[in-house]
């Protein structure tokens, strides 16, 4: 195996689980999440000579993945496990996760990404802002609005103003 292949394989094994999980939260479908995570890593491999030199190859791959997930929103909707219709080996998706995915996709794409990056994977406000290419204040505003909408859809509405 060549050196770039070994390097890419190590990168792949390091990031696969985390990226797949993010795709699952954004799409609500294990099959779509697996397909899009593979697609984003395929693109990383296609451009590996350059991506490997980036400061943050995982960040590049993550941005590609998130864009793919958000683009997929128009073509599919999160759904529950259907024992009669799903392929053998399909893993059940709980109601709570379907609700979460539906709530995330009810947000504008960048708001959903801000919520996932900050509240999901623990990036700071500044890191999230850099990743999304917007000022810190915009991220704070998106987080505030996004949390409120997602909390409402998850059935844990805010008590403010009552």
């Amino acid at each position: 195996m060549s050196e770039p292949e070994e390097e890419f394989d190590a990168f792949f094994r390091r990031v696969w689980g985390g990226l797949y999980a993010q795709a699952f939260v954004l799409t609500g479908s294990r099959e779509v999440a697996q397909d899009l995570t593979q697609e984003s890593l395929l693109r990383a491999w296609k451009h590996w000579a350059r991506v490997a030199d980036y400061d943050d190859p995982e960040g590049w791959t993550r941005r590609v993945l998130h864009n793919l997930c958000i683009q997929s929103w128009r073509r599919s909707r999160p759904r529950r496990f259907d024992p009669a219709g799903d392929a053998p080996g399909t893993v059940e998706v709980s109601d709570q996760h379907v609700l979460l995915a539906q709530a995330m996709r009810s947000l504008p794409g960048k708001q959903a990404r801000a919520l996932l990056l900050h509240d999901g994977i623990g990036m700071t406000i500044s890191q999230t802002a850099r990743d999304l290419g917007v000022p810190d204040g915009t991220v704070k505003s998106w987080l505030s609005r996004g949390r409120r909408i997602v909390a409402l859809k998850l059935g844990t509405p805010s008590t403010e103003g009552r």
Partner: protein, 260 residues
């Protein structure tokens, strides 16, 4: 305003979902993905390449007769690129691809996922094999640009791609086509930036910005629009704006892929 209760419940739901998904992530070997890359980068069939090359030469010859010789370096719409193979990897630089959604037999490539069908009128587009079509609404869109014609021209359904990375498209049946000589422009119809954003060339009703719209397929993408990319060897670059306003400053991006 959000409350601490909102924040806690959203954080908790996200963390639970992420942890469970990571725990149950399917096992995929990197070698499987690398093998897909080889399939993706397969060389085009020779007969398809020859057909495209011959068609391009004929169109260029016709255009030269109609408008006079093209001057290389004058503007960005020279005759370059029209006879390139379907995929021309530039080592460690910008990938130049020619979108080829048809098989040699003239049928739509089975790798293309046709998500919808539409019907309406078409006009000659930015390149000799593309059209701009107006049809019945699919999703929130009734303008399809570009739409690609196969060997049968507009007698067969055109393929109007979505984001070129997605391999999805709308099949468009042209009920009428505008008259006029086809354009020989070679501006890429889509570009992919180093941050993963894909931008579409748009040629109408665009208010002087762009001409690449980076929110064409994904409204929340950043940057919002870009100028025509500067071809470089090995890497193309492009100036883009965060907002679609005259005041928005330009930032230089590396172009990862261009699609003709």
């Amino acid at each position: 305003m959000t409350t601490p209760q909102d924040e806690a419940s959203v954080r908790s739901a996200l963390e639970r979902a992420l942890a469970e998904a990571q725990r149950t992530a399917p096992s995929v070997e990197p070698g499987d993905v690398r093998r897909r890359a080889r399939r993706w980068w397969r060389r085009p069939r020779l007969d398809v390449t020859i057909t495209i090359a011959v068609a391009a030469v004929l169109v260029l010859a016709l255009a030269s007769l109609l408008v006079g010789p093209l001057r290389p370096g004058h503007g960005h719409r020279g005759p370059r690129g029209t006879t390139r193979p379907a995929t021309t990897p530039v080592p460690t630089g910008t990938m130049v691809e020619i979108y080829q959604p048809f098989t040699a037999a003239g049928t739509i490539d089975p790798d293309i996922d046709i998500t919808a069908h539409a019907m309406g009128i078409c006009f000659n587009g930015e390149t000799s094999r593309t059209y701009r079509c107006f049809g019945n609404t699919v999703g929130d869109r009734n303008i399809f640009d570009p739409c690609f014609a196969g060997p049968q021209g507009t007698r067969a359904p055109l393929v109007c791609p979505g984001d070129p990375r997605s391999r999805t498209a709308v099949a468009f049946t042209a009920t009428s086509v505008s008259a006029g000589a086809p354009s020989t422009a070679t501006t890429p119809w889509a570009i992919e930036l180093s941050n993963g954003t894909t931008c579409a060339f748009v040629n109408a009703a665009w208010g002087g910005l762009g001409p690449y719209d980076c929110q064409y397929w994904e409204p929340s993408s950043s940057p919002a629009d870009c100028h025509v990319p500067q071809e470089g060897r090995p890497t193309w670059t492009v100036q883009c704006q965060t907002d679609k306003t005259d005041a928005s400053p330009f930032t230089s991006y590396t172009v990862v892929t261009v699609w003709h």
